[in-house]
Every structure is written in C-alpha cells, then in structure tokens.
C-alpha cells in the first residue's frame, strides 16, 4: 500500500470544473480523493506511510496529453529515441503521448506499432500510444493495414507531415477507420501549393525573397477534409492549424455537427513570420509561422474551443541538420519541454486564456481526440499529475534538454512558468533538478 498527498496546491481539473486550493490524495497509483487542505494535527487521518509533496503556491493538474509526438525511433536515432523523447515529455508535464508514425520504416504494420509500445515499456517514462500510418509507407496511395494496426495498439492514424492528397484514398480511409472508432490525424496541406516553400507567403516572403507557403494551401485541404468527414461520418483531426480561414471552416463544421477536431502549436501562437528576417533555421517549421492576423484567429479559436488541443508538434532534429542553408534545412521545432512556458507567454500573460482553459486544451481536449480516459483527476483514475510553478522565471537552456536534440528557437530566452514535477500512476517520474 502506498499513499501520497500533494498538499495545498491550486488544484485545476477542468474535466470536473475544479479550480481551488486543495489536497490531492493518491492511493496505490490512483486518485483517491481531492479534499480541503488538512493539517498533520488532524487526528481523523491515518498519516502513517503517507508521502507528502508540498505544492503550496503551485498548480496541481492532470498530466498533459499530446496528440502527436515524433519519437524518431526506429530509423532516426540521431534525433531522438523513445527513451529520450518520453523523458523530454515528462519534463514538459506530459504523461501520455501519441507517437507519430514517421519513423523509418513507417509504422504501417502491426509489428512496427508493437515495437513502439515495447520501447516505451522499456523506457518506463510516460504512456505512449502509437499512431499508425493511414497509407502504406505514408505514400498516400494504398491503405495501410489499419485493422491489424489497431490490434497492435494504434490509437489513431496519421501519415504525419505527408498529406493524403488523393481525395479518394482519404475518403476510403475515413470510411474504414470508422469501423474501429479511431480518428485520422491529418496534416491538411495541398502539396502543389506548398512545394518548395520555406515560410508563410506574405510580405515577409516577398521582402526576403523566400518561397512562400500560402495560407490557402492549408485552407483548401481543411475544407476538403471537412467535406469528406461529412460524407463518410469518419472522424478527422486536423494537426497544426495555422490560418484564420481554417479556424473559421472548422468552427462552422463543428456547429454543423461534423466530427472534426483540431490542434495548434505553441510556436504558432507566440511567433509570427516577422522573425524570419533572421534567416534562422530554428524558426523553420511546417506549417510555417504565419502573420499576426492569423495568430489572432488561432487564439480566438483556442479560446472558444474550436481548437480543442495544443500540441508541441515535437520535431527533434540532430544539431547538424539545422546547421545548413534555410532552404534545405528540415522543418521542425524540438518543443515538448518548452510547451508550457511558451503557452504561458502567448496565452496566460496577455490574458487570452485562464489557467483552467489552458490546462483543458492540454488534457481534456487531446484526451477526447484520442478517445482516452486520461486527463482528469477523477477518483479512481490513474494518478497522472503535473505540478507547475506558475511564477518561476527561467531561462531555456537547450543544452539541458532531456531530448536528444536542441533545435529550439527559444534557447536563451526567459519565460515564466515551469513544470516542476510529473507523476505517472502516482509515481514521481520527473522532478526538476533531480
């Protein structure tokens, strides 16, 4: 029998509408109760064998859930491994992640999915659910063995950053996955319009002479995916929404009852394409950083719940891969360890979202997308908990990342708000400075 008490923190559990100073009791790895703050003098309580974690002045909330994380193993171990990626996730407050299928070989068969789970069990960090590829080798041509991937543990389906450009293939995929009640996590982008692009198509692209990726490249595909979700009754989740028009299309589709959800990254909420005049490859991500009017629309979409999840879109890349010219540098930001801090700067400090709203988009929202029961502190739930110091000022040091990679545009930048402890199944798996 093991018992833990997380004492006196500001407990925020959006699923249960809780935001109060309280004690969280954990018994045998599960949430036992949330009570008013008790003192050790309280004789009604048996204090023997109770490990007390003082959370005074801290936020105590369900561990975060990420809908798609690139773990890079097998095939790209120079960037990340399951062990380092999940350790990074814990440091970011994440207790459950869906692993993206873009490994080499691609997770398009049952044994590949099982390998991801095996490596995650060995690492024993956070929970990992594989995403299976929608199409064989993510080529967008033939359906992958979706049924067998489900048997291998696939929580959903995604061809990662390769859009399923062929509408007929996407239609069949949405119809087929319906049988298993699994979502398709799609990267909505028209390849012909985005090909060769480096940054957002707009004034900055014109000024800097860089090939642009127009907002329309995402909007058109978003519209198509919504139409196909309506046609098939399948469930589509749009990854990394970055444009105002896409947000509006998703909002209208949801109002019409179509099964479409969407996520957004912290960097698309904090940064605009203005930063690109540094020509710094660390800012190169896909979709590209957009202009200020798009950022405003994303924040509005997040606030009203159109965008129900925030994802780090964690894309670790080995040092030398980004030390090249901007046009040939790969897209991606290693972001899972800085996610909370960036969200605080982009959303909490300007007053766009309350803490409860932010935590909801990191727990309840993504849990619903993936059909998982996690993301709450309800009694009886596995005790997956993140403890946040909302006031800690800290400087991002990429050299201290738990991730194997360092590709962040935030290195050396000062933020407020940091995850200081993460528990999975009631066990402390991450503690700042330990």
């Amino acid at each position: 029998m093991s018992r833990k008490l997380i004492r006196g923190g500001r407990v925020i559990d959006p699923a249960n509408g809780i935001d109060a100073i309280a004690d969280v009791w954990i018994q045998d790895g599960r949430i036992d109760a949330i009570t008013s703050v008790r003192e050790e003098s309280d004789a009604d309580i048996d204090w023997r064998d109770t490990e007390i974690i003082n959370a005074s002045g801290k936020i105590v909330c369900p561990g975060f859930i990420d809908t798609h994380v690139s773990l890079r193993e097998p095939g790209y171990e120079e960037d990340e491994s399951t062990a380092t990626g999940t350790a990074a996730a814990l440091a970011g407050g994440f207790t459950t992640i869906a692993a993206q299928s873009d490994t080499c070989p691609v997770v398009d068969n049952r044994s590949a999915a099982e390998f991801i789970r095996l490596q995650a069990e060995r690492a024993r960090n956070c929970r990992v659910y594989p995403l299976g590829a929608v199409t064989k080798e993510s080529k967008g041509e033939e359906l992958a063995e979706i049924g067998q991937l489900v048997q291998g543990g696939a929580i959903g389906f995604s061809d990662a950053k390769s859009p399923v450009a062929n509408s007929e293939v996407m239609r069949r995929a949405l119809e087929y996955t319906r049988m298993f009640n699994r979502p398709i996590l799609h990267f909505a982008m028209v390849p012909e319009l985005s090909e060769g692009g480096v940054i957002h198509e707009g004034f900055q692209a014109t000024r800097l002479g860089l090939r642009g990726i127009p907002a329309a490249a995402q909007d058109i595909m978003t519209g198509r995916d919504i139409a196909l979700a309506e046609l098939t009754g399948g469930r589509v989740h749009l990854m990394c929404v970055t444009t105002a028009d896409s947000v509006e299309r998703i909002r209208r589709a949801q109002a019409a009852g179509i099964a479409v959800t969407a996520d957004v990254t912290p960097h698309h909420l904090l940064l605009t394409d203005e930063v690109m005049d540094s020509f710094d490859t660390m800012y190169k991500c896909n979709p590209p950083l957009r202009s200020a009017e798009h950022v405003q629309a994303l924040i509005a979409g997040l606030k009203d719940g159109t965008l129900s999840a925030i994802t780090a879109d964690h894309q670790p890349l080995a040092f030398e891969k980004k030390q090249v010219e901007l046009d040939i540098a790969p897209f991606g930001i290693c972001g899972i360890e800085t996610l909370l801090a960036v969200c605080v700067k982009a959303l909490i400090e300007p007053g766009h979202l309350t803490w409860s709203e932010l935590i909801s988009r990191l727990t309840v929202g993504p849990a619903a997308v993936l059909g998982l029961k996690y993301g709450t502190l309800s009694t009886g739930q596995p005790a997956d908990v993140a403890i946040i110091d909302p006031d800690e000022q800290w400087t991002v040091k990429a050299s201290e990342f738990r991730s194997r990679s360092r590709n962040t545009p935030f290195d050396g930048k000062v933020f407020t708000g940091r995850v200081i402890m993460t528990l999975v199944d009631g066990e402390i798996r991450y503690q700042k400075g330990v």
Partner: protein
C-alpha cells in the same frame, strides 16, 4: 595609409554588406560618392591604387557566375588586395562539408573579407554570424544583390546627376529577382518613384509595402518613365510556367524600337544581364543610344571598389585600426 585619408567620407559603420534594405540614404550616398571618386582617380577603373594592400578577399561562389566574380576580383586587385577564388557548384546538399564548414576553412587561410554568392536567401547572413571576416553579399538567391543595386543606381545618377524625383520602372520577373529587391530598397530611399511592371504571376501583390507601385502594362507607364531596368527572365529559378510563352512575354514586356520611340526622348535603358536578346529587349535597343548596359559593367567595378574599401575601413576601425 591611404585608407585613413579617403577623399570622400560619409556615414558608413557597417561590418558586412548583406543588403541595401538596412542602409540609410546617407550610407548609400557614401558608397556612390566614393565610387565616383574612384571613377576619377583610376580613370574609369583602369589605374591601380594600393588602398587595400595586404587585404585578402575570398570569392566564395556557390552558384555559377562569371561576370560578378570577375568584377569583384578585378575590383579587389585594382585596389591592391589579394584574391582567392572558391567555386562550388553544390553545397551541403551532398553529404560532407557543410556550407559553414567550407567558409570557416577558407577563412582560416587568413581571409579578411568574404564575397559570397549563394542560391539560398540568407546564406551570407549565416556566414556573417559564423565568420570573423567581413561578408559581402554578391547575390543570395532571390533576396538581394546589393552591389548590383548600387551599380544600377550609380549608373542612373551618373547619367542624370540625381536619383530623387526620377521615375524608374523595374520590368519583368520581380518575384525571382534579387536585383529588383536591392534596386527597390536603394531607389526608394534616395527618393525615386519606383514602378514594378511584369506578368501578374511574377509580381507578388504585397510588394507595394516596399514603397513601389505595380503596373501590368509597360505601354501605359512608358511616357512617365525616366529609366527602365529590364530584369532578366530567371528561367532557372522558376517552378513551372509563369507565363504562356516567350513571344507573349516579349510582346507584352519586351523593350523594342517601337517602345523606345514612344518613351521619353532621354529614356535610360538598363539591364543587369546577362541579357536574353529578343526576350527582355531587342538587339537594336541593347546596342542603341538609350542603352547603358556596358556602362553598368564598368560602374560595377567602381561600386565594388567602394564597397570593399568601406568594409575594410570599418574592419580596421573595429580592430583598433592603424594610426
């Protein structure tokens, strides 16, 4: 040292020359005035000076260029500098040495200044962050080509005595042109009215935020224009077809004898070259009295001499300099 007694002095203070966007009108004028001085002092670039004696200039060309590289080499040697040439057709696309590693290797040979041509926008900016040497952008993809912009402006100023108040049309492939961007930054700052004119597929609409006007009809604007700069159609940078055919392009945007007659009597015709005869302009225009194409080449030498001098001067100042 001669360097400390330059006959022309104005504000400069730049360690690198990466683009005209960040230069002020005063800094631009400093370069133009020094180029004008060199024009006289070297009898049009034919005499040698020893202003840059002991300075080593490396030409790092990651993209094919004969004209610009030759012009830079000659400019450096006219001022007494030593030059090394490094040409690579491809860079870090292939496995092996990265672009930065290559530059660091060249720099380690004792190079003071690196003249860089690269197909990627921002490549010289990357070098400037990693090298101790001064970096001079000799064209970065479709971004900027500052010395070409300066030589075009110098050529116009020499012909007209001023830039302010003139109307200059940049004609052709604006989207893929680094020459257009450098011209725009320089001309707008010096008070010219700039019109960009070409097929709508090759003019990004938000370019007006750079202070220019857009025109899709060359014939409409011709009567108002003091100078046309005919940009080369960048067939190699285009992805797919941006206009239906070359004859249609020449018909709508090519400079020919008929259009010369309908323009101002003292219309100046510039072309950064290498020109596609019969596309951007007809041979009679290229070789006719309005054409300043060959003057541009000569002026390129002078402007580059001025840039190399100013960068060296700033470098010496930062290093504590010679008394």
């Amino acid at each position: 040292m001669v360097l400390n007694n330059l006959p022309v002095s104005g504000p400069w203070g730049e360690r690198h020359l990466l683009g005209l966007e960040r230069l002020s009108a005063e800094q631009l004028t400093t370069v133009l005035d020094l180029a004008e001085h060199y024009d006289r002092a070297t009898l049009g670039g034919t005499q040698r000076l020893d202003v840059l004696k002991g300075v080593v200039v490396a030409n790092l060309f990651f993209e094919n260029s004969t004209r610009t590289r030759t012009s830079f080499s000659l400019a450096a040697r006219r001022l007494g500098a030593d030059t090394v040439d490094f040409t690579a057709s491809s860079s870090s696309l292939s496995k092996g040495e990265t672009f930065i590693d290559t530059a660091l290797t060249i720099e380690a040979m004792g190079v003071d200044m690196v003249v860089c041509r690269h197909r990627t926008p921002g490549a010289p900016h990357l070098l400037a962050r990693h090298l101790k040497a001064s970096v001079l952008n000799a064209g970065d993809g479709t971004h900027e080509h500052p010395t070409q912009g300066l030589l075009d402006i110098y050529t116009i100023r020499k012909a007209r005595g001023r830039i302010s108040g003139l109307t200059v049309a940049l004609v052709g492939d604006i989207r893929h042109s680094r020459v257009a961007r450098s011209n725009i930054h320089g001309l707008v700052k010096l008070g010219a009215r700039v019109i960009v004119c070409g097929p709508a597929t090759l003019i990004p609409s938000d370019i007006t935020r750079m202070g220019v006007e857009i025109a899709y009809s060359l014939d409409d604007i011709l009567p108002e224009v003091d100078c046309v700069n005919l940009l080369r159609v960048q067939f190699e940078r285009q992805r797919g077809a941006f206009f239906p055919s070359i004859p249609e392009y020449a018909n709508l945007f090519g400079m020919n004898g008929d259009r010369i007659r309908r323009g101002k009597s003292d219309l100046l015709v510039l072309a950064p070259g290498p020109i596609n005869r019969g596309v951007e302009l007809t041979p009679d225009v290229a070789d006719g009295p309005h054409s300043l194409i060959l003057n541009q080449v000569t002026n390129g030498l002078l402007v580059r001499m001025a840039c190399l001098t100013l960068l060296t001067q700033e470098r010496r100042r930062l290093q504590g300099g010679e008394a």
